[in-house]
């Protein structure tokens, strides 16, 4: 309705009182002629099709267009005001020539005009270093200094061993909610928790994959409740329960079998018995260090896995235990003694 108003105002401003049908009056209408003729004289008999006025196709004049915007931009303009936020690439506003895309045969790389490749990818033109600096300066007034007494990571871990993190989301849509905002993550290093050997072992069994051995970090993620406050309370509860449970020793824990052992224990194993046999068979009296060394090496082999170093050490220890020498070393060779049974 207001567009009509504009039109009317325009008309009034020009103070022209031409009727709107001026154009049709300007061109001679066949009907008008016929009507005039009919009033005065006999009707003319028109044989054949009436010649319709040929409407010439309106010559389409291109709208006056100024050159693209980057030609008016000065080289020392404030770019942060021209491109303040993340925006799809727009060739008329970006002042430099840039090309991207696979060239057709015999053609140069496609330029920036109507380049879908350039438009698809994210450009970081809104994050030039001067703009970042300016934004950091503007945000400084919301920042407080880092607490005194928490300069090093060690101190931070000592006083604040637990880290809780959650994300909040901002949507530009009718709804501002996001279900991911309820997720709460709690991280703590096991070295900060005061656990003895049994406690640590029990805790690790309880948490399973949530422990990362490389960083010694226990991560608890809670998303089972609808609100992040509830999930946070749940994380707290979980940590408390884990700690307390792992400090306790249940009465049935003594029923731990050989297969349940978390690591290989040499004392009381068949390997120890066999080594003892060897020692007694050889008749060595002072075999404490030998056995001890052998036990250590076998334990390493089981606990740390087989690799070059452990296997080599095992080899040396076994040779010492059996009193073997290196076959190449013939000067001090003694007769190998083969013992029946397993050497493990």
């Amino acid at each position: 309705m207001f567009l009509q108003k504009v039109y009317v105002l325009d008309m009034r401003a020009q103070q022209l009182l031409r009727p709107l049908a001026c154009r049709s009056l300007a061109t001679s209408h066949p009907r008008a002629e016929i009507k005039a003729a009919a009033e005065e004289e006999f009707r003319t008999l028109e044989i054949g099709r009436k010649k319709r006025e040929r409407f010439t196709a309106k010559t389409f004049k291109p709208a006056t267009m100024l050159p693209p915007r980057y030609k008016q931009q000065k080289t020392d303009q404030d770019w942060g005001s021209v491109w303040p936020a993340a925006r799809t690439f727009h060739p008329a506003t970006v002042p430099f020539p840039v090309r991207q895309g696979y060239p057709a045969s015999g053609q140069p790389t496609p330029d920036k005009w109507a380049n879908a490749e350039l438009m698809k990818i994210p450009n970081f033109l809104h994050l030039t270093p001067p703009v970042i600096k300016r934004q950091c300066e503007a945000l400084k007034k919301f920042c407080t200094p880092w607490p005194a007494g928490l300069e090093t990571t060690a101190k931070q871990e000592k006083h604040f061993p637990v880290t809780v993190s959650k994300s909040s989301y901002l949507h530009s849509s009718p709804t501002i909610r996001d279900p991911k905002a309820r997720i709460v993550t709690l991280k703590v290093h096991l070295r900060s928790l005061d656990l003895d050997y049994h406690g640590r072992d029990k805790l690790l069994r309880l948490v399973g994959e949530r422990y990362d051995a490389d960083t010694d970090c226990l991560t608890l993620v809670a998303d089972r409740c609808p609100l992040s406050q509830q999930n946070y309370d749940y994380c707290q509860y979980l940590l408390t329960v884990l700690y307390n449970e792992s400090m306790k020793t249940e009465p049935w824990e003594h029923e731990k079998e050989l297969v349940d052992l978390e690591k290989y224990v040499w004392e009381g194993s068949p390997s120890q018995a066999a080594a003892q046999n060897v020692v007694t068979a050889r008749g060595i009296n002072d075999a404490e260090e030998l056995l001890k060394e052998y036990g250590q090496v076998v334990t390493d082999l089981h606990n740390e896995g087989e690799d070059e170093a452990t296997v080599l050490r095992y080899q040396e220890s076994v040779m010492k235990l059996l009193g073997l020498t290196d076959p190449q070393d013939t000067a001090t060779a003694s007769e190998p003694k083969y013992i029946q049974g397993e050497v493990c």
Partner: protein, 655 residues
């Protein structure tokens, strides 16, 4: 975005305490006494960070306003295109809203959480719908005037008893809006582009719903009288308002500040002579003082408005300053509207010069304003107008401009009309005060995205460029004139052509010559290709054609000159006046130089038709320089007559 969130302190202290307790238990000893000082969190509202970041973004003058698409094809440059693009975008939104309201059943999906009231279609009330008191309460609370009227009528038809408080609220609503629905706040473009109506005719709806509601109140207390008087005064039903005021005085009903302010504002309509008007205002103020009604900013502004309406009176200026002083002593701080009225009173067209604006600017320097009065938005326009017309000082204008661009003060420009007037004054003042190069810097900054010059201003710019001789700006000005749709204005085209004639081609500016010739040719082709049915057309005058000829001939474009001459000779009725002699002489010399006999003869014939005195000389020149065929001779003879023109074997007498 992920935020590292430290859990609240009690939890942390527990853990820390647990550790220290445990370590004590195991005999590790307490940690050393290091004190941790955690500073208090700086409170911030939800949008403070966004506002801080937004504050780092300045103004970009190379691009269009944010509401337009930033594309070379879609940028608006002329005033008409700016307005129509903005309004058409909004009409799309209005169409969407219309569909939403017409088919509400189709839009049952409501993803918004929390629920957004303004996205829902507005409730319409039909005949025969069951309504109650609560409905009317809700409608009045939301300020929907049309719906309130409908629901009120429905309530009356259904015989629903309405309590007095509700009727009072309804009365206030009707009096404030005069029973008319306002343009929705959502339609920002329509509000921006609408003209503020400044009628002095009564628009109050007499004996209609507002007065009916007033009559139907069981007890008509002071609040009801105040509402009605204020409404009547606002919409200029002055007599009835005054009547009611007298009635209140007789009955001893106390009226509040706002009502007295409204009456002061319309005091000029009640009396004719200036001193009587002021007397009435004084009476009202004294009544306020008697009744112990505290004056406020509205009173100050109303008093000054009343004075502004008698600003022709000699005492108005002194009185205004006295009023300001008195209110200052009462502790009432003036707003921008106060200063607006002061400017109206002191800086009149036909009054003595007043430097009050400088004093006002000293007072206001560096301040950010908040809206306190509807007339606050008129201050900046008036200040710029005063700087241009009254003080004629660019320094003052620049002070006003820097105040406008401080912080959020730019919102006080009001609407698009005021903005264009403001920049028009600033632009014209810069044009007349600054040297041309500095002025063109201002031009580059403002034109075309912030301000599009009107034809009158463009005329001043062209004249300035012509007088200073900085003709290298003409190409830019012509392209701007074409984009702003000024190329169909006779005066401007004529001025452009006149400016072009001042150029003298020399070997060190061939590009400029070429560009200026392009302008002349462009003007020629544009005017020739005009649609004959168009409303505003440029009609050629002989002077303009003469200028075209001069420019193109001087700069070496001979072809166009011959076309012009042909046009002038074949359709003389399309040209007002005749080509002046200097241009014809120039064309003739060019024709003689190129040995173009036809054109030369045509020039002479045209000159003869035009009645120029130099025709004889020109004929002589042609005759002496070029060999003429019998046809040419015959033509010249028939046109010039035997006594002026003689055959070439007879010596020609001096004419």
């Amino acid at each position: 975005m992920s935020a590292l969130w430290r859990p609240p302190l009690p939890f942390l202290r527990l853990i820390a305490a647990g550790i220290s307790r445990a370590s004590q238990h195991r005999g590790l000893g307490t940690p050393a006494g290091d004190t941790i000082v955690i500073p208090k969190r700086i409170q911030r509202s939800p949008t403070d960070i966004l506002q801080a970041l937004a504050g780092t973004v300045g103004q970009d003058t190379t691009g269009p306003h944010y509401k337009y698409s930033d594309d070379p094809f879609l940028n608006p440059y002329s005033n008409l295109t700016k307005r129509s693009y903005a309004l058409s975008k909004e009409s799309g939104r209005k169409a969407a809203r219309w569909i939403r309201e017409k088919y509400p059943r189709l839009f049952s999906h409501r993803p918004d959480d929390p629920f957004i009231e303004s996205f829902q279609p507005k409730q319409q009330y039909q005949e025969g719908e069951q309504v109650g008191v609560d409905t009317l309460v809700g409608v009045v609370a939301r300020g929907e005037v049309a719906n309130a009227v409908t629901v009120y009528h429905l309530c009356k038809n259904q015989g629903v008893a309405l309590p007095d408080e509700l009727l009072q609220d309804l009365l206030e609503l009707l009096c404030f809006y005069n029973e008319e629905e306002q343009v929705d706040v959502e339609w920002v473009e329509e509000r921006w582009y609408r003209q503020a109506s400044t009628t002095t005719r009564k628009t109050w709806k007499d004996n209609r719903l507002a007065e009916e509601v007033f009559a139907s109140l069981t007890t008509r207390g002071p609040a009801a009288y105040c509402a009605l008087i204020r409404g009547m005064a606002q919409y200029l039903q002055v007599d009835r308002a005054w009547q009611l005021y007298q009635e209140c005085r007789e009955k001893g009903i106390p009226l509040d500040t706002g009502t007295h302010n409204a009456l002061i504002r319309v005091a000029s309509f009640l009396r004719d002579a200036s001193d009587l008007r002021w007397q009435l205002v004084q009476e009202l103020l004294c009544t306020m003082a008697e009744r112990d009604v505290q004056p406020d900013l509205g009173t100050l502004n109303a008093t000054l408005e009343a004075l502004a309406q008698v600003s022709g009176w000699r005492q108005a200026r002194d009185l205004s300053l006295k009023v300001l002083m008195e209110f200052h002593q009462l502790g009432i701080k003036p707003s921008l509207a106060t200063y607006y009225y002061l400017l109206l009173i002191h800086c009149r067209d036909r009054g003595p010069r007043s430097d009050i604006l400088v004093g006002i600017l000293d007072q206001l320097e560096g301040q950010s304003f908040t809206l306190q009065d509807p007339k606050d938005t008129s201050f900046f326009v008036t200040a710029m107008e005063v700087a241009r017309n009254h003080l004629k000082s660019l320094k003052v204008a620049e002070r006003v401009d820097s105040l406008l661009h401080l912080g959020d003060n730019h919102l006080f420009i009001g609407d698009s009309y005021k903005e264009s007037v403001y920049y028009r004054h600033y632009f014209a003042l810069s044009c007349s005060s600054l040297p041309i190069d500095e002025f063109m810097q201002v031009y580059d900054k403002l034109v075309p995205h912030i301000y599009t010059p009107e034809p009158g201003i463009m005329q001043e710019v062209l004249e300035a460029v012509q007088t200073s001789g900085a003709l290298h700006y003409l190409p830019q000005l012509w392209s701007d004139m074409v984009t702003f749709d000024h190329s169909s204005r006779d005066k401007l085209v004529g001025l452009m052509l006149a400016a072009l004639t001042h150029h003298h081609p020399s070997p060190d500016n061939p590009q400029l010559t070429e560009r200026l010739v392009t302008i002349a040719k462009d003007i020629w082709t544009r005017v020739q290709e005009q649609d004959p049915n168009r409303r505003n057309r440029v009609t050629w005058t002989g002077q303009m054609l003469g200028w075209v000829v001069e420019v193109v001939v001087r700069c070496g474009e001979y072809q166009t000159a011959t076309e012009v001459l042909q046009e002038a000779t074949t359709t003389p009725q399309a040209v007002l006046g005749v080509l002046p002699a200097p241009s014809l002489t120039a064309l003739l010399s060019a024709a003689l130089h190129r040995k173009d006999t036809d054109t030369a003869v045509a020039v002479v014939l045209y000159a003869q038709d035009a009645g120029h005195q130099e025709t004889g000389q020109m004929a002589q020149q042609v005759h002496s320089s070029l060999p003429l065929s019998n046809q040419h001779l015959a033509k010249l003879a028939s046109a010039l007559g035997r006594d002026v023109y003689l055959p070439h074997d007879t010596p020609a007498p001096a004419t």
